[in-house]
Symmetry: C2
Subunit: 199 residues, 2 copies
């Protein structure tokens, strides 16, 4: 038996999404097929609104409704501290921690020669302009602790070496609630190098 | 920071789908936000088409484009053997095995007093009429080997006890490629009860 064409098409489209394999795509398609029509249109309208109602902030490239995002517009944020992240999802994660009150700059990825991503593909030009034209004192590099994140952090640190910026990177070490016994060597190594003196 | 309303709405809607947790919903929403607009409309159109272009077969309740599904319409299928399954996804799974050339009857679920699903909520009436009005010789109950599937199979077996139908259930035992060491007791028990004589 051939799977009915509209079902096959929906499976193929869902399968293109990250984390959705063919079995999950089939399950989702059958679930949607059984849902009420109004629920399906609510879902599809919400997905379409992502493209029509949202844009990227002109200043920091984070997700935004207006030309400038809520964080850049806010008067309560410390504009002298700039946190550089890879993706908008990192902004959401950091905001959830409630530990940072500065502003962000979303690179839109990391340097990755293998996937052909160079400096021109990231929002680095606008970062340089921002640093030049505003009162930024401190640059916090909050990139993922993998090879590409490390490379990008190194590149940015060198790029701003001659500026008066205070450049730092977020700490690597054991995750809170983590178990030393099960931590990998690199993490334990980093935790030792980054040890903090007990006062 | 509040997550922008359109993004939050998309996350909420995606989160309603089975197997999609909040983190996956966020990841999918951000992926869609970054996709080309034409790719998003292709996806949403494919999802909407599930409701507009598909229906359930009048005879067997399987997914269908027309009033009767491809399997019921086919002249190459053995209409005297009827396989009873829970959901359309089971039809797809059985068809993939290429082991069955009869026709199907999709119950649309199983008897489940706890979730308030009784005989009236399943396609049992139409099954009884089908058995009465067509030349069905054999009924194969291919329900899931869980409590509710067993209960439903027992109910159907009793319902057709006085008919001349040859009623069978698909075999339970060790899955092909499975490991006896790791099989659960119930499966091993069933495999022993259902042992087949070596000729």
């Amino acid at each position: 038996m051939q799977i009915a064409e509209p079902l096959q098409r929906a499976i193929d489209e869902l399968n293109k999404l990250p984390t959705i394999g063919r079995k999950t795509a089939l399950r989702l398609a059958l679930y949607i097929l059984k849902s009420k029509e109004e629920n399906v249109t609510t879902l599809t309208n919400a997905l379409l609104a992502l493209k029509t109602d949202l844009r990227f902030c002109n200043t920091c490239h984070n997700i935004s409704i207006d030309e400038e995002c809520e964080i850049c517009k806010s008067t309560r944020r410390d504009k002298s501290v700039l946190c550089v992240v890879e993706e908008p999802s990192d902004v959401i994660a950091i905001e959830k921690s409630n530990e940072f009150n500065g502003v962000y700059h979303v690179l839109g990825g990391v340097l990755s020669p293998l996937s052909g991503k160079g400096t021109d593909d990231l929002n680095i030009d606008s970062l340089v302009k921002r640093v030049e034209h505003s009162d930024i004192r401190e640059l916090i590099l909050a990139l993922n602790p993998d090879t590409e994140g490390e490379t990008t952090a190194l590149y940015l640190a060198r790029l701003f070496k001659n500026s008066n910026l205070n450049i730092s990177r977020i700490a690597r070490g054991l995750p809170v609630g983590g178990d030393l016994e099960f931590a990998d060597q690199a993490t334990i190594g980093r935790a030792f190098i980054g040890r903090i003196k007990v006062e």
